[in-house]
């Protein structure tokens, strides 16, 4: 099978979505002529025309707010927020409007939109370009939050998001855009939203990660195996909301030990939700306190010090050993 990068997989998914359904349109800042600042929409405007791939004014609330109206009136917009850190500008339109319209109208109206946003650190961006804000949206009923960690999932999850009848926030880890190539099927396929994936099966410790920290967790698991002989099961959550508790519980019932790895700040993060669910549903299977390896409770740091801030393979290996040796 052919291999491609995550950004190529995302591009291919959007192209297929535009081809498959006239109602699909792409809108955002610089997505047209420029093809997106990361080239995710490269060539799409030339192919599908300026009515379907739209360069909007620089206005995040307008992009999402108009997408809500477009969707309600029958279109299927894929809106791009250029960097996740700028999404605060569109917070009302996402959390207060798109995510609520089905509920507010008793099911009469819905806003099936996809909001794409790159995020995540380790790529030396200016301020507010790297923040991981997924927890804000886990806390927003009515929204689905998807975070791919490899090219195959990136395409399949995006195609599932486009077909989803509800608003989906699709978060793209900047660092993984071109970090590696992976096998991506050519045809249309969907990776179901709401299901986690066991990336590596194991017996001793469950390591749970999503988005940019999945490769970190995988490397740490291998290293912990080599150094200490701990057999780690690595789970890629893939979807933050809805969360696949079942897969997590099944794994913890087997291993009894948990490490959660995410880039976002620790307090109130998605890791806290994961730990709470496991405490509720698998408490008696736990043989050690659960440990979180995360970003610290500070704003995302400047490039010169970000490596010290981000969850590293070392930190995860240490955590694995701590829970294994408890």
């Amino acid at each position: 099978m052919r291999e491609m990068t995550m950004i190529q997989a995302i591009h291919e998914a959007m192209k297929m979505a535009l081809e498959s359904d006239d109602r699909v349109m792409v809108l955002g800042e610089d997505v047209g002529k420029n093809g997106g600042v990361f080239r995710a929409t490269e060539g799409l405007q030339a192919h599908f025309g300026p009515d379907r791939v739209v360069d909007t004014p620089l206005a995040e609330s307008a992009i999402v707010g108009a997408a809500v109206g477009l969707a309600v009136a029958g279109m299927r917009p894929i809106a791009e927020i250029q960097f996740l850190g700028f999404i605060y500008e569109a917070m009302d339109q996402i959390a207060g409007q798109a995510a609520r319209i089905r509920f507010r109208s008793g099911g009469q109206y819905s806003a099936p939109i996809v909001i794409r946003a790159p995020f995540g650190g380790g790529v030396r961006t200016p301020e507010l370009h790297s923040d991981s804000l997924e927890a804000l949206f886990l806390h927003t009923p009515g929204l689905k939050v998807v975070m791919p960690s490899n090219p195959r999932d990136a395409k399949g999850l995006l195609l599932a998001a486009v077909r989803d009848p509800d608003p989906v926030l699709y978060l793209e880890p900047l660092k993984l855009y071109r970090a590696f190539r992976g096998e991506v099927p050519e045809q249309w396929y969907e990776v179901p939203i709401g299901r986690a994936q066991v990336v590596i099966p194991g017996q001793d410790v469950t390591v749970i990660a999503w988005g940019p920290t999945v490769p970190v967790a995988v490397r740490a698991a291998r290293s912990a195996q080599e150094a200490w002989g701990h057999s780690c099961e690595v789970i890629d959550l893939r979807t933050i909301a809805p969360m696949d508790t079942e897969t997590l519980v099944a794994s913890v019932e087997k291993t009894g030990r948990v490490v959660v790895v995410h880039e976002a700040v620790r307090s109130g993060g998605v890791g806290a939700e994961v730990a709470a669910r496991l405490a509720e549903s698998a408490f008696l299977s736990l043989a050690a306190p659960m440990v979180r390896v995360t970003g610290y409770d500070t704003p995302y740091p400047p490039p010169a010090i970000e490596d010290a801030w981000l969850p590293s393979v070392d930190r995860v290996v240490e955590a694995i050993h701590r829970v294994a040796a408890f």
């Binding site: 349109m25 707010g65 109206g69 477009l70």
Partner: protein, 361 residues
């Protein structure tokens, strides 16, 4: 150096003076349409006064009265067709009822019943918007979709003067202008955003002139003159249908009541100002005088009409108060198209509790 300054404020566009005498060309509307608009205003005022009483009696919850703004609402909705998209704020019940929203639904909303936000299936009205100015962007999106799909429909968003300070107002006007979207931004400038007067909301002389900055057309009409509103709105809607893009319409009016039933306007509003608007500029009185002068309305009809409106509102109150109780499972059913496993577990948990409670009784 050339500097830009706001134009001298344009005068209000008026068709009728306070005495109901034409001061400009009267729109060419059939007698029954004129009478229909008047009846809509009478029904709306009756509904509003009754709703206020119901709230004082504790029979409905918080309510945002619109008395004084009937002309702005009925005059503008009279231009709309069934297929046009309407994105209201929370103060457009007069217009929404005139456009086909059953009165009992409007009451159910204030009673906190989830069905209160439902609109007739064959309409394209949105449920009322609580956040200020968010709906302007929804109207831009919907109007944009109409254009892309080659539909004739237009989208209209309703909002107050306070909304013009919000970022979404500016983003909406700008976006709609850039893409020449068939949308009408209808501002009911009622003078007050809760306690803050419009003079403290903006330093522009008018709302309408803000259109100029976005390269679109602005219209300023007397919002208490139903025929002036109709004419202004007709121009805006016709332009949108003809592909000429968005229009900002400012209807200058006044809210005679409080912001909501939780508000006490005597803390911030001058008694004299209120008196002037109530006694000299009531939009219903002005239109009635016009109809009488035209010879198409009589004292007898006037009496009958208010009685009829009272009866209709009474019946709506009965329908609302005898409406089936809300089923709490509503909450779980409308979050996603398909209930998520978490929600379905939480619903089961709630159901189990509910049935245990019943068992105990």
């Amino acid at each position: 150096m050339e500097v830009y300054r706001a134009d001298e404020p344009k005068p209000l566009y008026r068709v009728l003076d306070e005495e109901g005498s034409p001061v400009g060309p009267v729109p060419d509307l059939a007698e029954d349409r004129l009478v229909g608009m008047y009846r809509g205003m009478v029904l709306a005022r009756t509904f509003d006064e009754r709703a206020l009483n119901l709230q004082r009696q504790g029979r409905i919850g918080t309510y945002a009265p619109f008395s004084g703004q009937e002309a702005a609402q009925i005059g503008s909705f009279a231009v709309l067709e069934k297929d046009d998209w309407v994105f209201p704020s929370y103060r457009e019940l007069a217009g929404l009822i005139y456009h086909g929203l059953p009165m009992e639904r409007a009451l159910l909303y204030s009673m906190g019943h989830p069905d209160g936000a439902k609109v007739p299936e064959d309409s394209r009205m949105f449920p009322v918007q609580i956040v200020i100015a968010s709906q302007l962007l929804h109207a831009v999106g919907a109007g944009w979709a109409c254009r892309l799909k080659g539909e004739r429909s237009v989208a209209v968003s309703y909002f107050g003067d306070g909304a013009t300070s919000e970022g979404d107002f500016h983003e909406a006007l700008n976006l709609a202008s850039v893409f020449s979207v068939p949308v009408v931004f209808f501002c009911q400038n009622n003078g007050w955003a809760i306690s803050v007067p419009v003079s403290h909301q903006m330093r522009s002389a008018t709302v309408a002139q803000r259109a100029v900055a976005y390269g679109i057309e602005g219209i300023r009409v007397d919002g208490n003159d139903v025929l002036a509103v109709y004419e202004g709105m007709l121009r805006a809607v016709d332009r949108a249908r003809a592909g000429e893009g968005p229009t900002l319409v400012e209807a200058v009016t006044y809210r005679l009541g409080p912001h909501t039933t939780a508000d006490d306007p005597t803390r911030y509003r001058d008694e004299e100002e209120l008196k002037r608007w109530r006694e000299q500029r009531d939009p219903i009185v002005r239109f009635r005088k016009f109809l009488e002068k035209r010879g198409i309305w009589s004292e007898e009809q006037e009496r009958t009409e208010w009685e009829r409106a009272r009866r209709m509102v009474d019946e709506a109150v009965v329908r609302a108060e005898s409406y089936p109780k809300a089923d709490p499972s509503f909450a779980f059913e409308h979050v996603y198209a398909l209930m998520t496993p978490d929600l379905s577990n939480q619903r089961d948990e709630w159901r189990a509790r509910a049935s245990r409670r019943e068992g105990m009784q």
